[in-house]
């Protein structure tokens, strides 16, 4: 089953349903704010951009997606379930003993997860290598990779950015979930003066920006092929904890599981929205 919502109401419904699944999964583990920050980006990719369905998940010419910020994986699992890559029942096992859905994606376990992630700073180089491999073999497919703005602290991100530029990988799209909050503080306090748009530009990338919670804007920005022959990055403005008002912009929800009264409150917010 795939879906491509074509009106504002069904887009809103999709975004709310995914958030409900995330809150359900987050009962015993953290990173709910992270998943809520990036879920609309992942949804826009799978529903409106990626040429990849459950039926083509192993096809050599499928588009690939790597969630480099692996701690946002509740968003990915929720989307994969909605799109029919995995059984929705599996979501209820998230983080439990014996589950295939770990708190960071496991390697080679479920359809739709191209590779393991969890340690930050790995995904861009992997994605760039895939994009290069596709080009070398004349395969017409694209590779998308989602990084956090905090993840861009990692030096390996910039090694990979340089490699992608050197390879003229115009079939590679990096997406930065720019919620401005890292694990222990604000991005701008931890990396003062380090403007991401300028950094990517100086590495020779085509840079664009988008609202990371607006479906249509995301589909347009992500889906548009690079016209410069260069790799492309879409810097997304996002809100950590987006959609649950008492979680928004609050670092506490980087860590805190959602249970008890919090869980009830969160579901109530979603049903009202």
């Amino acid at each position: 089953m795939t879906m491509s919502p074509d009106d504002q109401q069904s887009i809103h419904q999709l975004q709310q349903d995914l958030r409900r699944d995330i809150i359900m999964m987050a009962a015993h583990s953290g990173h709910v704010g992270v998943a809520l920050s990036c879920v609309d980006i992942v949804a826009a990719l799978y529903a409106g951009v990626l040429n990849c369905t459950p039926a083509t998940a192993d096809h050599p010419e499928r588009d690939r997606f790597i969630l480099s910020k692996g701690h946002g994986c509740m968003a990915l699992y929720a989307v994969l379930a909605r799109m029919g890559f995995i059984d929705r029942q599996l979501l209820e096992t998230y983080g439990q003993n014996g589950s295939l859905l770990a708190e960071h994606p496991l390697a080679g376990k479920i359809s739709g997860v191209e590779c393991a992630s969890g340690s930050l700073g790995h995904g861009l180089a992997l994605a760039a290598g895939m994009a290069k491999g596709l080009k070398l073999q004349g395969l017409d497919a694209r590779v998308f990779v989602l990084l956090g703005d905090g993840e861009c602290n990692e030096g390996s991100v910039w090694e990979a950015a340089a490699l992608a530029r050197a390879g003229n990988l115009d079939n590679l799209v990096a997406i930065v979930d720019g919620n401005g909050l890292q694990a222990c503080g604000k991005y701008e306090d931890i990396s003062p003066g380090f403007k991401l748009a300028d950094c990517w530009k100086s590495f020779g990338w085509e840079v664009s920006e988008a609202d990371g919670h607006k479906y249509r804007e995301l589909v347009e920005a992500l889906g548009q092929a690079s016209d410069s022959g260069l790799p492309k990055v879409v810097l997304c403005r996002t809100i950590k904890g987006k959609g649950i008002d008492f979680m928004e912009e609050d670092l506490e929800w980087h860590y805190r599981p959602v249970n008890g009264d919090d869980r009830d409150r969160a579901f109530r917010r979603l049903s009202r929205a």
Partner: protein
């Protein structure tokens, strides 16, 4: 070994279009032949070892067979987590090639010594570790790489290693340990190009009437557990020799088996002390200072074989 590597790789590169060569900006002129044949499959990643490993993993995930080349410490410890996650955990069939294993880059100093690579990499699941002993074995490792479905590490020396197997008139099989010299007076187990020193030590011992068997292991991971268990089962004295620190190396693995087997084998482990040298030395000097030159190996073995003589100390 380096020339053998590039010449055999060129052969594979011409016939197998999956092969991609990546370098961390090292190997000046050595890969020109590859470039001449198909420049698209030769990538100078620059001095970006971590990025290069991830890039290679991505290439492998699309069905290609990347060889990643740099000096041993830069392509192992420098990018260890990329090897662990991008290659091993994600099961990407990439061959990591470290040139200058052991003390091969002696006078370049500890930044360039590759004496802890095997121990560190041996912690990683799914990684095949090859430590060829001569150029001919290097060629066999490259041929074996073509049929891998998981990552491998190939430890090269530099370029002066003698052709041991040709002179022994022996056809090596890298997949299993080989008895490279028969002997009834215990056994020396070794791995990699220090085999040359061990054979010289054996010549020296022979003149003293001591004839140890010599076993070389080229596929060091997975460790040939059963072979070693069988080789020492009669309780004979065992010495291990490796151009590597003791931690995580051939000697510790063998010692574990000796202990578990419980046959009371006298045992001695020759390895590089885990310390930084106090000054600049070439490989020969570093080996001698570590007790790993042929004369020192022979003396250590004599003490193991005859522990109760006046010169003994085992």
């Amino acid at each position: 070994m380096r020339d053998a590597f590039f010449s055999e790789l060129y052969d594979l590169f011409r016939h197998d279009r999956r092969v991609v060569f990546l370098t961390g900006d090292l190997g000046y002129k050595l890969f020109d032949q590859l470039k001449g044949h198909d420049p698209a499959r030769v990538i100078n990643c620059g001095i970006r070892e971590a990025g290069m490993i991830g890039y290679a993993a991505g290439l492998a995930k699309t069905g290609l067979l990347p060889f990643v080349y740099s000096i041993t410490p830069f392509v192992t410890l420098r990018c260890l987590e990329q090897i662990k996650i991008d290659l091993c955990y994600n099961r990407a069939n990439v061959v990591v090639v470290g040139v200058g294993g052991g003390f091969a880059y002696g006078p370049n100093g500890p930044t360039h010594h590759g004496i802890d690579d095997i121990g560190v990499l041996s912690c990683l699941p799914r990684l095949t570790v090859w430590t060829p002993s001569d150029p001919r074995e290097v060629r066999l490792c490259i041929r074996a790489a073509a049929s891998l479905d998981s990552p491998a590490y190939l430890r090269l020396g530099r370029n002066k290693e003698p052709d041991i197997f040709d002179s022994l008139k022996h056809t090596p099989d890298i997949s299993r340990p080989a008895l490279v010299r028969e002997g009834s007076d215990g056994v020396i187990v070794t791995s990699g190009f220090i085999l040359h020193e061990v054979l010289n030590a054996a010549d020296c011992l022979k003149q003293q009437g001591i004839h140890p068997a010599i076993v070389r292991i080229t596929t060091l991971r997975p460790f040939p557990e059963e072979f070693i268990r069988a080789a020492i089962a009669d309780g004979r004295p065992v010495m291990t020799v490796e151009e590597h620190v003791a931690t995580g190396g051939l000697g510790q693995e063998t010692a574990r088996i000796v202990a578990e087997t419980g046959k009371g084998n006298r045992f001695s482990m020759l390895a590089i002390p885990a310390e930084f040298p106090d000054a600049c030395y070439d490989r020969d000097a570093l080996l001698a200072r570590s007790g790993l030159d042929a004369a020192s190996i022979a003396a250590s073995y004599r003490r193991l074989w005859t522990p109760n003589t006046a010169t003994g100390g085992a």
